[in-house]
Homo-oligomer: 321 residues x 2
């Protein structure tokens, strides 16, 4: 995790008094979560994840995330809704941070996804998009959306050529395309916006849980799909797995048909979403957070993805039929 907050057993016991889940029988800090600190907690009543929100997650966004998880959970979506405390709240204060408890989901992530995984990821994403249709507004806006990229680029511009020669020009080219061609009107709604393989837990080859909704926001659906194509069908070394991309798109379209207008901007969305992760990784690479205990993610993976997408010009290449 990026920042780790140590919770003393006595602090935990005091916190648990606000919940109806019994006493701690096991409590272990977990090495996961980039935006927060996580613990495994077992009590007489079950197993839980305790999450402490570090500075990257805004307190004001927490009610949105918590009610979103409850909304999705109520519709049968495989995500853990927060346990409400005795005051009916989904989060409370612990070690001077907002903290929430979630049921512990079984499942393991894969770093070697195949078409069975990808078909399910696509289907699950479409189900999420549809299930949020009636989620009460206001919806969280995308803090990592298109309007933030110029700013991010400016913050790390001086180091870009050190990462890879020619990269500055490529980024400028994509930012210009985003400025000129970014759509105004496309199907949109609540997106996960970070559906990487670490955030999908498979149990017996089926999706047992989707986690880490802390980038969830209102966005174009086709952008969310592009994020997932990058995450699930391009290897860290830049190899493209057509069958994974095809399966993800096909899985998605089983539940929601992608419109012609969405197809038309798909290449732009792939380039733009690759740029988004390239820029945030670059930023974190150049400005590693203090007290960080997380391995920084290599921005080069997204340089390779970006260059791959710059060479393509048709969505059929990615598996649209």
């Amino acid at each position: 995790m990026a920042v780790y907050t140590h919770v003393e057993p006595e602090q935990l016991e005091k916190f648990l008094k606000h919940y109806d889940i019994g006493h701690a029988m096991s409590f272990k800090g977990l090495v996961e979560g980039v935006e927060n600190s996580n613990y495994f907690l077992a009590t007489e009543k079950g197993e839980f994840i305790l999450t402490l929100y570090e500075q990257r997650v805004k307190l004001g966004d927490l009610p949105f995330f918590m009610t979103l998880l409850e909304h999705l959970g109520a519709k049968g979506f495989p995500c853990p809704p927060p346990v409400r405390n005795r005051d009916g709240q989904g989060f409370a204060s612990l070690a001077e941070r907002p903290a929430a408890l979630f049921p512990f989901l079984r499942g393991v992530s894969t770093n070697n996804p195949n078409i069975r995984h990808c078909r399910q990821v696509g289907a699950t994403m479409a189900q999420m998009h549809l299930a949020c249709d009636d989620f009460p507004k206001p919806w969280r806006s995308n803090s990592m959306g298109a309007q933030s990229w110029h700013f991010l680029f400016a913050q790390c511009r001086d180091s870009v050529e050190d990462i890879s020669s020619g990269l500055t020009e490529e980024i400028i080219q994509i930012l210009a395309a985003v400025d000129a061609e970014w759509p105004q009107d496309l199907p949109r709604g609540i997106c996960h916006a970070d559906l990487f393989s670490d955030n999908v837990l498979f149990a017996d080859d089926h999706i047992g849980g989707v986690i880490d909704f802390y980038f969830a926001c209102e966005e174009f659906f086709i952008y969310d799909l592009a994020v997932a194509i990058n995450a699930w069908s391009i290897s860290p070394f830049g190899s493209f797995y057509y069958s994974n991309s095809h399966a993800l798109i096909a899985g998605y379209q089983k539940h929601r048909t992608i419109t012609a207008a969405e197809r038309n901007v798909f290449i732009l969305m792939l380039r733009a979403s690759a740029l988004r992760f390239l820029l945030t990784r670059l930023f974190d690479w150049i400005n590693p957070p203090k007290d960080a205990v997380v391995k920084r993610k290599d921005p080069m993976e997204y340089v390779r993805a970006l260059r791959f997408h710059l060479k393509q010009d048709s969505p059929t290449f990615y598996g649209f039929e």
Copy 2:
């Protein structure tokens, strides 16, 4: 933990093929263990801790640790014996490191020990001392024993006065006393040698597990007790809790009577064991391990403990009756 080895799900699946415990249903890296990397693992057959041994634990010592845990487990001592794999081995290779699986023990450690905790810790230590009596030799020698302290001191001597003025003289004084007065012949056997509160798990106020035997070695029993008195009855700020010390000694003596000869060296043992942890913490403070993600432990805690013991001259002060 000090060093963290990332295990990919695919590596884990391959490793688990050597065991008869089923497939991974949950797999989470844990923030604990100074000497190794630990994961929580759930399969159809149960819950486990997966430990990968980093460089601080010597490969040659692993058979001793593994058979010791089995020996103690077989006698009903609350420690987790390693799960043997299909080849009958207690450890195997994973991510280029020796790795072992243990049953996951319920229980939480306390950082606010009371006399009920201390009485049990004393009793459990005496039971361990007695239970190892028939453990097959050769026994692991104490790599952090008296003969190592001059060397450790030499490694950090230049920085000692920066930590606390006058500390160099105090250390020299204790090392001279150790050289002159260290006993040759006292009751000895296998000691835990690191029985801090993080290594004792309480479930419903009773000891549910003792963990982290990676300093276990042949040593004077009274030295092991002195380590525990430092750990359980002196606060990080140097306050002494007589009732905790008394309870720990009384708990111990319920199972094994401390001899007059042991009592006579008890003050020396307290000073010596405080020096041992002071020196290793100092060493780690000055030479933090690369890639370390652990918070260094403050050597000042043991400067305070040492100075406290330097002022005492009678074991009755600690609760001997």
